[in-house]
Amino acid sequence: MVSHKGVDYTKILKRYDVEAQNETTPESVAKKMLPSDPTLKKVAETVLYMKFKDVGPAVTEALKTVKPLSVINDGLVVGMECVAKLYAEHIYYLPEIMMAAKTMEIGIAIAEKQIPGGRETKGLVVMHAAEGDPHDIGKNIAAVMMRSSGYSVIDMGKDVAVTDVVAEVVKSKPMLITGTALMTTTMTAFPHAAEQLRGKGINTPFMAAGGAVNRDFAESFDLGIYSEKAPQTPPIADKIKAGYDWRKIREEWDNIVGGA
């Protein structure tokens, strides 16, 4: 047996993860980003620290003095922005995102009730995993990211037939459709769906994503745009909201996702 004791590992590998670990704490990021108003700060902190038991009381308390839309945008959403920042800096990881998002949603649900006619989101997105494709984790994560950036989402689930996707789009008129495929043999559903949509005069961008899909494929059919990673979706959606059509998204893709 060759012994591994005393081996000089520096020749073999470098633990960049350990060397590069970020000693920043959630607190130090929070200090720079959290609202100064103590009531809103408390709300934001429940999201930042994923306290889904505390978020209800904190929001209810805040609503006594602060307008509901401000509780959402200047409290809950700011907390989530801290979380996103911490995620980008490798201090928070996926579970924190998931739990913080859940916390935020509980808070929003309470605040929203006080807004006549409900809260207006940035826009509606219809999401699904392709017909025949059971891989849905990526889509689920992307859905959470979209919700936490202020979009409303209709999540149609996985293995969704092309006809169902088209019907849903016709019905609910989203600003963006997303499809996830992790198999080379299921991603072919996207151009079909896009074609049927075009046939009905619908020009909504169709974002093709998921492990099997690459940018070339996503841009090989009309309406198709690409997103590589879940966190890239909100910046793209923001551009669509700002009036970009699918052609313009394609042209500026590198710049749009550059920061994400």
Binding site: I12, Y92, L94
Partner: protein, 467 residues
């Protein structure tokens, strides 16, 4: 079929395990002998987009393009053996799509075997398209796709038409492992994969083994791709930040207790390449296992590319999409990579240096990350022992696997054998705490989890597991 639980180790020491040899070798196909003193390359591929459109096109893609290219290249470079693996695309759920592929691959193997004397065989890995929730994993539930009947039907189609080896990556427990991994909840993983997943494995594998027996197909095995691989995949490498690798390492150990069940139901191995739990399972059962690593970069890159070769019997590329490269088609390029690695291993065997090479593979990645650390064959053996000790209890053995893995990492970190980031350490400490806090009684465990996850995981439905 009866189920015989493992309560003893197949090997008397970790050092006894090595690539190319298993306690119980298996022969099949055209001259293939797995675990009988040499390693065999196993090549897996995905058809090009569009080839799924009709049966003729799909069969042409799999047989005339992919299989032919692979066999041709194997002969060109002088590889004595090659195994093909077809992971069925969802369209192969209908026999009309599946049969020409299965028959065609059998025929082309025979042709090359006769023409050149190359040893070859095909593994068919059918998809488990059952869905949790109301849909149902068992008969008599709502399943609009009428599963699990469709699953067993697919197994029959594969075995009756020429599969040499049969495998599935079953879904039992996936609704919980998806939740567990995205939320960092190791107890949910233990409940879903270690416990419920094992129960589901038993349900389906008894039937699979029957079908295989009837058709003289080798019942290979299962892997927890949906659980531990998803975790590992998402934990990624040093620049990824979704899932902690200490979490992923522990899920791997838990998954190994589930993977064993196929073999306990009478399957013989080789199990599937993406079952990174192979070293643990092999240490307990002595059955041959397929593995992947260094030469599966086409499919993914993990932190134990060399280490996974340490005790493999088949060496796989996981999967590559069929397309052209300067060096030939993609399947040929990756076969070349696999084949040369296998040649190196077999050279080591032929010169009596196999343990040295095994150790080099292992040391290369032992400290690269916690996942490789627990799979290093000495640690894998210890996890195996923990499982065998509680072999008769599906819950306790998976928990023991998880705790043992976690503690091995902790001890290794303290001994400066394996560095961890602070975050990895925090998560590890919590895992040990969470797993140790669980009740020792299976019933109490079930009760606790059933209640907790009924709330948290909408798709969870105990009926799927016969409760």
């Amino acid at each position: 079929m009866s189920v015989t639980r493992y309560t003893k180790m197949a090997y008397s020491s970790a050092d006894e395990m090595v690539f190319g040899t298993a306690k119980s070798p298996v022969s099949y196909g055209f001259g293939i002998k797995v675990g009988a003193g040499r390693v065999i390359p196993e090549l897996n591929y995905a058809p090009r987009p569009g080839s799924e459109k009709d049966p003729a096109r799909l069969a042409k893609e799999y047989v005339d393009y992919i299989s032919k290219d692979v066999l041709e290249r194997a002969v060109t470079v002088g590889f004595p053996d090659v195994q093909l693996e077809t992971e069925w695309v969802s369209q192969m759920g209908t026999p009309k799509m599946a049969i020409p592929v299965v028959e065609g691959q059998k025929a082309i193997c025979e042709k090359y075997h006769e023409e050149y004397g190359i040893n070859c065989a095909v593994r068919h890995t059918i998809p488990d398209q059952r869905e949790a929730g109301e849909e149902g994993l068992r008969t008599g539930m709502k399943g609009h796709h009428a599963y699990p009947e469709a699953l067993f039907k697919a197994a029959e189609v594969a075995c009756e038409n020429g599969a040499d080896v049969f495998s599935v990556e079953t879904m039992g427990g996936k609704e919980l492992s998806d939740y567990a991994t995205t939320n960092g909840d190791v107890v949910a993983f233990l409940f879903g994969v270690g416990y419920l997943g094992s129960i589901d494995m038993e349900y389906v594998w008894k039937e699979f083994v029957n079908i295989c027996k009837k058709n003289k197909t080798i019942a290979g095995g299962d892997t927890n791709c949906a659980g531990a691989n998803t975790a590992m995949f998402m934990a990624g490498g040093y620049l990824d930040n979704d899932v902690q690798r200490t979490y992923s390492a522990v899920t791997r150990a838990i998954a190994s207790a589930r993977t064993l069940v196929a073999w306990e139901c009478g399957a013989s191995g080789p199990d599937k390449d993406c079952g990174y739990e192979g070293p643990i399972a092999k240490s307990i059962a002595g059955k041959p296992c397929a593995q992947e690593g260094k030469n599966c970069q086409c499919a993914h890159c993990d932190l134990q590319g060399n280490l996974m070769a340490q005790v493999c019997d088949l060496w796989s590329n996981e999967s590559v999409e069929y397309h052209p490269e300067f060096g030939g088609s993609s399947v040929q390029c990756w076969l070349g990579s696999l084949g040369y690695e296998v040649s190196l291993m077999n050279t080591a065997i032929a010169t009596g240096q196999e343990k040295t090479l095994r150790d080099l593979y292992m040391i290369s990645d032992r400290s690269r990350g916690p996942e490789g650390y627990v799979l290093a064959y000495d640690n894998a053996y210890k996890i195996g022992e923990a499982i065998a000790k509680e072999g008769n209890n599906l819950y306790l053995r998976s928990r023991a696997a998880g705790i043992t893995a976690a503690k091995l990492i902790k001890a290794g970190n303290e001994a400066k054998e394996i560095a961890l980031t602070n975050k990895q350490k925090d998560v590890l400490v919590n895992i040990i705490k969470d797993l140790e806090a669980l009740p020792d009684s299976e019933d109490k465990f079930f009760e606790y989890c059933d209640k907790k996850y009924s709330d948290l995981v909408p798709l969870y439905n105990k009926k799927n597991y016969g409760f």
